[in-house]
């Protein structure tokens, strides 16, 4: 054991390593977070890969047959071609395939489609991601904004009616899955009242994609129902969390101290209750973005909205597994990155965490 008198660090010119060391320890909080995220991403890739290993072998034969009659080559030549194109060889040993897959990953190939040549996970992501991001983030921030305000309102004002209404709202929207609400909205507003379109993301005939108002108008018009169904459910969740957090904060001593200092009710609500109650909810933003992103599959298939979710469900149904693997991997990466960003931004909002 080193002898117990403390080592006295004399202040000689600190070398390069000490500067690096000081920098590292100062931001070790961030490096730790980044490290964990990378580890999680790597493990997710491994897990996804091994799930996909269970793909039934007949995919390659199907593709080989297609190639054979398309290019008039012998079956086993087509089989070889199919294997290389698909980057998947059922009878190859697992680790070789895994390293080839990782190699492909680093080169950015997330997965080639065998149904349509030239279509890969990357191309699909380029075209589909903006749409999913659009409705997910709009729905998320809309519901977060409405939910936290209502939650804060009913927590600070103890009147019965508002509490009862919001509790029943939370109970109902909590019990109906968002995709069923989407179905109901489609039936009411789509088929019967015909106020809103129920399919696709914009009116392809009358509008040309580009940064012009008719296009944006049409996009918003078509995205109304999907966003509405997400928002209805998510708002209930945010009201619940905000009310719980705000009631917790109201019990704190600094609220009583603020009241004793003769601060106006509105100031106390804004700078004391709201600010402190919102902090724990920020970390939840990352998690709920993940769940929205995950849930997109079903929502988009109901509205036939061309997002990543719809791609995944279509590709799964007609067994285009290589692309599916790429898309799911990408979704997981998105969720991890969003959570990482929220974690890194959190100290800027909450001073208590800042100096760690």
């Amino acid at each position: 054991m080193k002898e117990n008198t403390p080592i006295i660090v004399d202040k000689k010119k600190n070398t390069f390593w000490e500067v690096v060391l000081k920098f590292l320890t100062k931001y070790r909080y961030f490096f730790a977070k980044i490290g964990i995220s990378i580890l999680t991403l790597a493990l997710s890739t491994i897990l996804l890969f091994f799930i996909l290993r269970k793909i039934p072998g007949d995919i390659v034969e199907l593709y080989a047959l297609k190639l054979q009659n398309a290019q008039g080559i012998t079956y086993d030549r087509a089989y070889e071609l199919a294997k290389s194109l698909l980057n998947f060889d059922p009878n190859e040993n697992v680790f070789a395939a895994f390293f080839r897959y990782i190699g492909g990953l680093f080169k950015g190939q997330l997965g080639e489609s065998y149904l349509e040549t030239g279509v890969s996970a990357n191309s699909l992501i380029k075209t589909r991601l903006p749409w999913t991001l659009f409705i997910s983030s709009v729905a998320l921030f809309l519901s977060f904004f409405i939910g936290t305000n209502i939650g804060g309102f009913i927590a600070t004002r103890r009147n019965g009616i508002a509490n009862k209404i919001s509790s029943s709202y939370i109970a109902i929207t909590g019990s109906i899955p968002d995709y069923l609400i989407a179905l109901i909205l489609v039936i009411i507003f789509g088929y019967n009242l015909k106020w809103f379109p129920t399919q696709n993301n914009y009116d392809a005939f009358s509008v040309t994609p580009g940064f012009n108002f008719p296009f944006i108008g049409s996009v918003l018009y078509y995205a109304a129902l999907p966003i509405l169904s997400y928002t209805i459910v998510q708002t209930g969740v945010w009201i619940l969390h905000m009310r719980g957090s705000a009631i917790g904060v109201l019990g704190e001593d600094y609220i009583l101290a603020a009241k004793a200092r003769g601060l106006k009710e509105s100031t106390i609500r804004r700078r004391y209750v709201k600010k402190n109650a919102l902090l724990p909810l920020i970390t939840m933003l990352g998690v709920s973005f993940g769940s929205l992103f995950g849930g997109a599959t079903l929502m988009e298939s109901i509205f036939n909205y061309p997002g990543i979710g719809l791609e995944i469900s279509n590709r799964i149904v007609n067994k285009d597994y290589m692309v599916v693997q790429g898309l799911i991997f990408f979704s997981a990466a998105m969720v991890i990155i969003v959570n990482l960003v929220v974690d890194l931004l959190y100290p800027l909002i909450d001073p208590r965490v800042r100096e760690k």
Binding site: P56, A171, S175, L183, V287, G294, L327, S331
Partner: protein, 302 residues
Amino acid sequence: MNKEKFSDFLSTLKIFFKNLGHNLLNFLKKIFSSKKTIIGFVLIMVFVFIGIFGPLIFPYDQNTDVANKYLLPSTEHFFGTDWLGRDVFRQVIAGTSSVLEIAFFTAIFTVTIGTILGIISGYVGGVVDKIIMSITNIFLSIPSFPVYLLLAALITLESSVSLALIISLWSWAGLCRSIRVQVMSIKERDYIQICKVMHMSTFHIIFREIMPNVFSYIAVNFVVAMRNAIMASVGIMLVGLAAYDPTNWGAIINAARMKGLVNYKNILIMIYPLVFIIIFQISTLLLSNGLDETLNPRLKVK
């Protein structure tokens, strides 16, 4: 075994059960003190009753009878008939058991995996904790629904148990993490430290000191797991997978949707299973909120 030892053994057994009974009694008295719990529990029991005895009272025959398809609800067909003339009411009744099966099996699998791993990583800590935590991180970051679809497509589903297994594979992570946090906080409490000073066995510490404290949390999450199971299973069926049981409520909704919801008759057929799902979900919500309020002292409304 001599007489005295035997009677002593009997008395400890009697005490044990009396104790167990006593604990169970006041536990039941405690949780049924809240209105929410009672309503929620009664509703679920109604569903269980329908699930078991429904098909006996209203047997459902699948053969089609196209002549009287799309009949309006009448005394003979309470919910009317669908596009193949099959009685919708009996379909929904027959589907109840498969829905309940999914709910209960998922809840059981999720809670067992989540609790065991949660306690191990919470109590043992160190490297084991780090490993289990990184595993849960994966399951929490990969979006659950696309994976359900993938697994449902890869493995041909032929029964509720397999569907339940798939759903619970991806929902145990959240529970494991929160139980780990609870166990870690309890482990630091004074009454656990005192057990170490008094040389109590690890078995005693985990099962007699920590488990009872975590039990209320597990009970609430059992019901929450049931809710998530329904959400996921209906979702999977709406995408056309796991169609092993056409009478499952999700399957009926999907079938009606496939027939085209422009025709209002299909909408009518879809409404009934939808309402059943909503009622079931509200009952699980009431039960979980009620349990949470009674068992969780922190939430006690003064």
